[in-house]
């Protein structure tokens, strides 16, 4: 296989990892006001993702860095072209990340409520916007002969891409609910499971329309197969949630997202950012790529270190494998006060 193809696949893997992992912590963030009706429940939800959300988010940074290194033209055109959506995503990720760390640092209901809002919107916005962005990438955007995006902001808000945004929103919401059902105990667990079943069906409906649309527009045999498998995984996951098998249910949405994202990349190949202009030039794995030497170096680094990363990230999930419920949440030990008797 050519190195440019290898790197196309590796970047696909990084986005698959990002969406399959951060997808559920976006989902948990969005479910905060839904499943967390009182403070302890909200803390249960946040603590299910507490040790892992930051590691999940690194996948997007590495995806960005790898795109920069392996396909500089892609990185340059995509990031300068999708300027305002990316700015929104940045703002969302900033307030969300700070919110997780700072929320519990003051014993003040108004303070916590503000950070809860930051977590909710900071999870919801990227969940939608990443879908819109990928919809646009797959569908093609106005790129001129100098490989420069010339479409402006509102061009990105077309029906197909917006449907993509709705698809990722519902998939991540379901994925998050599956995760909560798997990682908690008590009433939250039951509610999460039943919510996952319902949102899973809605997600399936929307996702099928989006994926069929994609397949008709730009699909290949490989993308078609991956999309069918994604749909099957989603239905299996929802069914498993319905029958109380939470591990299988979570695996189902995990695979759904992974397969669907892989399918989008398959539909894209060998373009990386097709143009919608008749006289424009599409960015491809060839004309956007770095030199063979850079790709070779990067391949060596990726081959050695990616497995190591997978092992220790996997180990983290093993360390924090136990379910959490409200009685596991300690009293908040907050600034200026300590629980009675601890002195």
């Amino acid at each position: 296989m050519e190195l440019t193809t290898v790197w196309f696949c590796l970047i696909a893997v990084l986005w698959v990892g990002y969406f399959a992992l951060e997808g559920f912590d976006f989902g948990v963030g969005m479910l905060l006001p839904v499943l967390g009706r009182e403070e302890r429940e909200r803390r249960v939800l946040i603590n299910t993702i507490g040790p892992v959300w930051d590691g999940n988010e690194v996948w997007v940074l590495v995806a960005g860095g790898a795109t920069f290194a392996a396909f500089p033209e892609w990185y340059a055109t995509l990031f300068s072209g999708f300027y305002l959506p990316l700015l929104l995503i940045l703002v969302a990720l900033i307030v969300r990340g700070v919110a997780f760390e700072y929320r519990a640092k003051r014993d003040d209901a108004a303070w916590r409520a503000r950070w809860d809002l930051a977590i909710f919107w900071g999870s919801l916005l990227p969940a939608v916007l990443w879908g819109v962005a990928f919809g646009n990438i797959v569908r093609g955007v106005p790129i001129d002969a100098d490989l420069e995006y010339v479409g402006g902001f509102f061009n990105l808000l077309n029906p197909y891409a917006l449907l993509g945004g709705l698809t990722t929103l519902l998939l991540f919401l379901t994925h998050g609910a599956m995760y909560v059902a798997l990682k908690t105990d008590g009433p939250i667990r039951r509610e999460a499971r039943s919510l996952a079943t319902r949102s899973g069906l809605a997600a399936a409906l929307v996702a099928v329309v989006f994926l069929v649309w994609t397949q008709v527009d730009t699909g290949s045999v490989a993308s078609g197969v991956l999309f069918v498998l994604a749909a099957l995984a989603l239905l299996t996951g929802v069914a498993a949630a319905g029958s109380g098998r939470e591990g299988w249910a979570f695996l189902g949405t995990f695979l759904t997202i992974a397969l669907a994202v892989a399918g989008l990349f398959a539909a894209l190949f060998p373009d990386v950012m097709p143009t919608s202009l008749a006289d424009g030039t599409s960015l491809t794995t060839t004309n956007a790529a770095a030199t063979a030497y850079t790709l070779k170096i990067m391949t060596g680094v990726a081959v050695v270190f990616t497995p190591i990363v997978l092992v220790y990230q996997g180990w983290t999930y093993w360390v924090f494998r136990k379910r959490i419920s409200v009685h596991h949440i300690p009293e908040a030990v907050l600034a200026g006060e300590r629980p009675a008797g601890s002195r």
Binding site: V58, V62, S80, Y102, T291, T294, I297, I329, P330
Partner: protein, 484 residues
């Protein structure tokens, strides 16, 4: 893209990068100090070390949160605002960035998660080693991002491909062992230790004079020891910063002579050259009302010899125009004013050194005041406690402002100017929106962070609690040792 958008993009880069780098040195240095305290506790069983570990660990996390989220902006804005730069250097510059993500960011984030939540999940030695791995991650991160920056200061290991119009990597090892990188890395890392040392010394000193370690309180010895540990780290690292900075000055004179001339606002070549501590008047060399100078010092800083020759701005500018104005790769070169903005290079260089030395003097004062069992009380020491952490912190900022402004008008020295690197298709409105939104957000977050930091500093170290591993079989309902 018009000039206005270029200026806004430059302001955004300056603001977001200087802001990001307020958190980075503390993250690098404090992760080592927290891990060090935790290891000391493991080795000796002394409860004070564990209390300090947890106390400093909380302050570390408040700082780390902002370091992480502002780092995402850095990763994105090369492509957003500087897409032509990204196209031009992506083949060389992208590789260290990608490696940084894979080697460093995963390590930091994953093991920090394990450290924060793992007190009752991991055996003690394994738990402490998580913080050491976080520290290792910060070192990797610094190494690769500084290698990328060193390429911008002194491009090596590449070929200019006229056909594609970009710089292409030919030797990755050369990029990683760039002579600028080999002196910059120790300089930056030691400055980070210095900053963290000053932070710990300042916090502990504050408790001695105003907080939980005042005369007669039980914890006085713990905070006294903290002040001394911090001051020693500050001083030893500071010495390393001075030495590495000295070597760096000579490398800089060799590869970017204009930057050294701009650091002194030296318009004409001198042999030997004096160093001015400060100048009143216009620093453009035309009128100088008053200045305090040390003879021969600039010669020594630049060349290592007391009577060495230091090239001035004017002859260098002639040289640069000759070299770069007529280069065959003219698509990327424009002849012009090769002089950086002199007042900023002149003063940022002095503030960097002045604040660094002032921080070291503060460290010495703390060691003196805490000698042989003594500890200071009240009065002026409060100001030392407050001022001490700020000095190396802002010295870092001025160091970066100096090194980046001193490279102008280049973004990659000798290859591409900053003006050529900006995104051609991005509108002024977009960049302005981004600048306003990020600056406002950063301002609010700074206020929140500072308030939390001060609250938690004032709260001091919690009482000792013996960490215990969870026993899920016998006591599955025991509350978590730590939860958000």
């Amino acid at each position: 893209m018009d000039l206005e958008a270029l200026d806004i993009a430059r302001w955004q880069f300056a603001i977001t990068t200087v802001y990001h780098f307020l958190f980075v040195p503390i993250t690098i240095g404090l992760s080592a100090l927290v891990a060090g305290y935790q290891t000391a506790w493991l080795r000796t069983g002394n409860e004070q070390w564990l209390r300090m570990t947890k106390f400093l660990g909380k302050l570390f996390l408040i700082n780390f949160a902002l370091g992480v989220v502002t780092g995402i902006v850095q990763e994105f804005q090369f492509g957003m605002n500087w897409s032509d730069y990204s196209r031009f250097v992506g083949d060389v510059f992208g590789a260290p960035l990608a490696v940084e993500g894979l080697l460093a960011f995963f390590l930091e984030s994953t093991f920090l998660g394990l450290w924060i939540f793992g007190w009752d999940r991991l055996p003690r030695a394994l738990h402490a080693s998580c913080m050491w791995l976080v520290h290792l991650g910060t070192l990797f991160s610094a190494y690769f991002i500084l290698a990328a920056n060193s390429f911008m200061q002194n491009p090596v290991g590449y070929d200019y491909n006229a056909e594609t119009g970009r710089a292409e990597l030919t030797d990755f090892v050369a990029v990683l062992t760039n002579k600028v990188q080999l002196v910059t890395f120790p300089h930056v890392i030691l400055a980070a230790y210095m900053t963290a040392g000053a932070f710990v010394a300042g916090v502990a000193l504050w408790h001695l004079v105003r907080g939980k370690g005042r005369e007669g309180s039980e914890d006085r010895s713990m905070y006294r020891s903290g002040a001394r540990v911090g001051a020693w780290v500050l001083l030893v690292a500071g010495l390393g910063v001075v030495i590495s900075g000295d070597v760096q000055g000579k490398v800089m004179t060799e590869v970017q002579p204009m930057k050294m001339a701009a650091a002194e606002a030296l318009y004409e070549t001198e042999e030997p050259a004096a160093f001015s501590i400060f100048t009143i008047g216009t620093p453009d060399g035309t009128s100088e009302k008053f200045s305090v100078t040390i003879p021969n010092l600039l010669s020594f800083l630049a060349t290592g010899e007391l009577d060495g020759r230091v090239e001035g701005i004017n002859p260098l500018r002639e040289q640069y125009i000759e070299t770069y104005g007529q280069d065959p790769g003219a698509t990327y070169y424009t002849a012009g004013d090769y002089t950086p903005y002199i007042p900023l290079t002149y003063w940022s260089f002095r503030f960097m050194m002045g604040l660094g030395f002032a921080g070291m003097a503060g460290g010495l004062a703390v060691l003196w005041a805490t000698r042989r069992g003594r500890a200071p009380t009240g009065g002026r020491w409060t100001w030392v406690a407050v001022g001490l952490p700020l000095m190396p912190l802002f010295a870092n900022s001025f160091g970066w402002i100096f090194t980046e402004i001193g490279r102008q008008p280049w973004v990659v020295f000798g290859l591409m100017t900053t003006e050529q690197g900006v995104s051609p298709g991005t509108t002024t409105g977009e960049v302005l929106t981004s600048l306003v939104v990020l600056t406002a957000l950063y301002g609010v977050l700074a206020a929140v962070e500072l308030k939390l930091m001060l609250t938690y500093i004032a709260k001091g170290a919690d009482p000792y609690v013996e960490p215990q591993l969870r026993d899920d079989d016998n006591d599955p309902d025991r509350p978590l040792a730590f939860a958000y």
